[in-house]
Amino acid sequence: MNDTQAPAIELRNLTKSYKDLNALDDISLSLEPGRIYGLLGRNGAGKTTLMTMLTGQGYPTSGEALIFGANPFEHDQTLARICFIRESQKYPDDFSPLQAFKAAALFFANWDQDLADSLAKDFALPLKRRIKKLSRGQLSAVGVIIGMAARAEITFFDEPYLGLDAVARQIFYDRLVEDFAHHPRTIVLSSHLIDEIANLLEHVVVIDKGRIMLNEDAESLRGSAVAVTGNAEKVEGFINGYEVLHRDSLGSLASVTIKARLTATQQEMAAELGLELSPVPLQQLVVRTTLAAQSREELTESQEALK
């Protein structure tokens, strides 16, 4: 099969409806292989539904979800290239982590037992305890280990850190960067702990209410917005003409987040006006962009209703 040209992940006008609700609403997207993607959005935005379609665990109402150009649904060849770790991954009740790893080793052609062993040590995972006796964090560790040691061509992690404490999450991120550096592949990280993973991501896709809000390289997002704080009147004068993402005020003080890359001259001007400029972290940017898009949408809807 010649699929070197096909994107790792492709969505063509994908819609998934449950009764009246469009969980995914006419989404089109194309992601090339060999990168770490962040799939971000609020709970209920459609992240899990999207990954379910892409891993052949459900089928679209209309449109297509393709993996390397092929429909994964009941397609063994394609399914063998994917690993999907769900937020609450289920295992047979009487399995131990050791048995779960053995089963995974049979399914995933690139399985790396040494990596699984060393990760298990890092997470201090009791390998012979039955999985149903594991703590929530240990259960998440089992999923993280399988997802990483599988070295699948495309790995989906759907909020894989439930119950993992800050230290264990850092171990996950560090080991992921390390392993990805030596074995580049396509990784989709779905998370709402955006600040924690922001620097790991090469590309960011934000969805909300089943639609794509943002689809951009993380590096071009960084520094694409700035928060201007100071005397409200001066702030308003300074930001005039820019797209406003967010507005906060406290008495005569205002803090307005605008979509802009300011030149050195503009920064100087802000300093002369006594305005403070501060960078906007990726998490803030995602939140602001999502909310700004929502309010725009509500505005158009109410305008249409008036017609």
Partner: protein
Amino acid sequence: MSMIDDSRPIFLQIAELIENDIVSGTIGEESQVPSTNEFAAYYRINPATAAKGINLLVERGILHKKRGIGMFVSTGARAQLLQTRRKDFQTQYIAPLAREAQKLGIGADELNAMIKQSLISELTEGSGIR
């Protein structure tokens, strides 16, 4: 990691960190710089981003690749960086100074005298003479 901030693309920050080490002499010419993967692991960033920062310096001739060994600081890199910074000095410091001077009606002669005076006091204070 506090050395990486949100104000600008990370690859620019990585390139700047390496440049600073070269200008200060922390990394000597013809000595090896850490690999892409080492940068990625140390700063906890995407390896592709680290590579982009390093490649930027390769394009500018600051670093060069030795096949199968790694990345090295080029001979003359420090002089080149100093030259760039001198050039930036004009746009970053002198141009705003001139702009402000014009706004305040300070002429060239007066500005020259002021700069000279500041230079002298900087020199005497800096070297501890008198």
